[in-house]
């Protein structure tokens, strides 16, 4: 057996086996080591996929194309960063009864074995979603990410996290149910008197373009967009996202924002890939643009004066998912930019959520009004937090600036109204995020926050690495990455 034929099965089975093993490992430190080792091996294997083309299995059941490889690499990179952070984080968590600093109520954490096991299952489900081109199996992968990430959100079993978990489970499960209806309608749209049995792999669906029933296909696309859009946090189905992102432990928020949203985007990307090949991209692109701009608008309206820095990051995710949809709607002119945007958002947002965890641990509040003097109390976190916010708001020379510029360039082809709206919304969000950030970093410590002590390097190192990567991508894009992005964009971005 060659390495190429083993890559995908090992990538999928390793976290699955590690998850099962984690429930049987008795000692916490061994379980943390298992998490870190699995994350390291998965990252290495994902990196190997850039040098060795993995062999497909079962047609397109397990098949890694350029888009899948990008999502897979981002997922494994973020999972590695989150695992690095998880080791000292889990060590610092008191397993006994604790008091919620917000409401003063007692609560206890979920068992660490459940947390670690669900994290590893989340990785397995994300890898499955990234490495299949079968829309049915893609649905299974995305639905599994919902189910296994719910216990991660309610790791701290206090009222707010349980409320957030319930909303997340319900909205995403209904959303993903809509996506399943979309898949069934896609099957019906592709059936004809001569073609009863439809292979649901993307290539097969794309080749059936001659028989497609347009009305059923349009209905299927709407269901897929609403369904996966709910999971992706697209407005107006985004309501679970600020709650879940703000109440989950910070490393889980980083994974949700950086990896889970990409998996949901992959669902819409595959649907657009089929739409492009059956000649219905004009209809789908209009929908994508509408939902994209609506998401940016909702984010801009809520982000100003929000007062909760974790919710601010969550609404920023709504904005960036909107930009992704806009890029997909604009087409190939924004193709490379759109995918670069996905990468940039994942890296920077994950870094920011990890840093938000540091701030929360020191200040015991999520209110940006109550946090000040971070430059003195948390110098490393403060510097990285400011850098991250500058980066995520599309300031040069970070990668998000380059990608947002690509999208703007694509929008300019269609008149001035949309570019003007796009720039205005970006401007509002920039002001809405920078203002509280400056307040948090500057000034002195509040009198009632006297906690001091050196920052643990392991709590800032993952974020620093992710931000350096985002900066490097903004300054220089290697030829092989450029080619890969173009190849991925050609799959679903219409000419």
């Amino acid at each position: 057996m060659s390495i190429a034929s083993l890559l995908l099965p090992v990538l999928l089975l390793l976290p699955l086996c590690a998850a099962l093993l984690s429930w049987f490992v008795p000692a916490d430190h061994s379980r943390r080591a298992l998490l870190l080792v699995t994350a390291t091996v998965e990252l290495t294997l994902a990196a190997a996929c850039w040098f060795v083309e993995p062999a497909s299995l079962g047609g397109e059941l397990l098949c890694l194309d350029a888009m899948g490889r990008l999502v897979l690499s981002l997922t494994c990179a973020l999972f590695f960063a989150a695992s690095l952070y998880a080791v000292p984080y889990l060590e610092s968590e008191d397993p006994g009864a604790r008091t919620d600093f917000h409401q003063g109520l007692h609560f206890s954490n979920a068992p660490e074995a459940t947390f670690t096991g669900c994290m590893l299952l989340f990785l397995a489900a994300s890898v499955l979603a990234a490495s299949t081109r079968h829309v049915g199996l893609l649905w299974v992968g995305i639905e599994t990410t919902t189910v296994v990430s719910a216990p991660l959100i309610s790791f701290h079993r206090h009222r707010r996290s349980l409320e957030a978990t319930w909303k997340y489970l319900l909205i995403c499960s209904v959303g993903i149910g809509f996506a399943l209806i979309g898949n069934l309608l896609l099957d019906i749209a592709m059936q004809s008197e001569a073609r009863h049995v439809v292979d649901m792999s993307v290539s097969s669906l794309s080749q059936g373009g001659g028989h497609v029933h347009p009305a059923w296909f349009k209905a299927a696309f709407v269901f897929l967009l609403v369904g996966y859009g709910a999971k992706m946090g697209i407005a107006p189905m985004h309501t679970w996202l600020p709650d879940a992102h703000s109440e989950a432990p910070s490393l889980v928020s980083a994974l949700l924002s950086g990896a889970l949203l990409n998996c949901a985007f992959l669902g819409i990307f595959r649907a657009q890939e089929v739409a492009l090949s059956v000649g219905l991209a004009a209809f789908t692109s209009t929908l994508l643009l509408a939902f994209g701009f609506l998401s940016m608008l909702v984010a801009a309206l809520f982000i100003v004066n929000l007062g909760d820095f974790k919710r601010m990051l969550a609404y920023s995710s709504v904005e960036h998912m909107g930009i992704l949809l806009i890029a997909l709607g604009v087409g190939i002119a924004a193709g490379r930019g759109g995918l670069l945007h996905m990468a940039g958002h994942s890296l920077i947002k994950a870094a920011l959520f990890l840093l938000a965890g540091n701030i929360l641990a020191r200040y015991h509040t999520k209110s940006s009004h109550d946090v000040s003097g971070m430059a003195q109390s948390l110098p490393m976190t403060s510097a990285l937090w400011l850098t991250g916010i500058i980066a995520i708001t599309g300031t040069p020379p970070f990668v998000v600036f380059i990608s947002e510029f690509f999208v703007l360039q694509g929008l300019l082809n269609g008149g001035l109204l949309l570019p003007a709206a796009y720039l205005t919304l970006l401007g509002v969000i920039f002001v809405g995020m920078i203002t509280p950030t400056l307040h948090m970093c500057r000034g002195g410590m509040p009198h009632d926050r006297t906690a001091k002590g050196r920052e643990n390097l392991l709590f800032v190192l993952p974020s620093a690495c992710l931000l350096v990567l985002a900066l490097a991508l903004g300054l220089y894009m290697p030829e092989w990455l450029r080619e890969s992005l173009d190849k991925a964009a050609a799959l679903a971005f219409h000419p």
Binding site: V147, E163, I188, M200, F302
Partner: protein, 220 residues
């Protein structure tokens, strides 16, 4: 794909039972009754792939159908029952809309789905046009249960009824080569119901209630 006359009659009868159970669910307040109705739906839906297979039923297909039957008609209702038994206090699942209005809305949805079915140009799968109105009305009933009930357990009922509707919609497309996919989807739903049940138990412990009106602390 055509439906034989005798099988067609049985199919119509089973679909009628599904619709009646939808209306009963919309009008029911007691959780125990809802669980029994969901079990009934599960048992009926467990048979559905048989109609898609027609005379092409193989032993492997029959085994798979038996597994689906056990999961939908047995394991899922048992899971619900287990969750229900753990909840204290067991509040009735009253609707914000009122039970009569809920049933009337369900009826309207069924009438609309019949009209929609007559207007839609169904491509090639004739069995699909048989199940479409019932599936559409069942999905709608599920969504109505999720959005109109005061207790969180009723929202799980709604989710499962919605999934039943989706399962019914997909039954005409069942094929032996894709049974692994149907099994995966069903397992996902089973695990989702399990996770919802566990979350609900913790919610009940933390809030001393499963009334969704208690979930109001997370707002902008």
């Amino acid at each position: 794909m055509t439906v034989l006359p005798v099988a067609g009659n049985v199919l119509e009868m089973l679909l009628g039972l599904v619709i009646i159970s939808d209306f009963c669910l919309l009008g029911a307040e007691r959780s125990r009754l809802c669980i029994r109705l969901i079990a009934l739906q599960g048992v009926i839906l467990g048979f559905m792939p048989v109609f898609a297979a027609g005379d092409g039923m193989t032993p492997w297909f029959a085994v798979a159908v038996a597994v689906f039957f056990v999961i939908k008609g047995g394991m899922l209702p048992l899971l619900l029952w287990h969750t229900y038994k753990k909840l204290h206090p067991r509040a009735p699942g009253a609707s914000y809309l009122g039970n009569t209005a809920s049933v009337l809305l369900g009826l309207a949805a069924f009438a609309f789905s019949l009209w929609l079915n007559s207007r839609l140009g169904i491509a090639a799968n004739h069995l699909f046009s048989h199940v479409f109105p019932t599936a559409f009305a069942t999905i709608f009933s599920g969504l109505l249960l999720i959005t109109s009930r005061r207790i969180a357990l009723a929202q799980i009922f709604g989710y499962l009824v919605m999934e039943n509707g989706i399962y019914l919609l997909g039954a005409p497309m069942a094929q032996e080569s894709a049974l692994w996919l149907e099994f995966s989807i069903l397992m996902d739903i089973l695990v989702a119901a399990f996770v919802m049940g566990v979350a609900l138990t913790h919610i009940n412990r933390a809030f001393d209630s499963t009334d969704v009106e208690c979930f109001a602390s997370l707002r902008d």
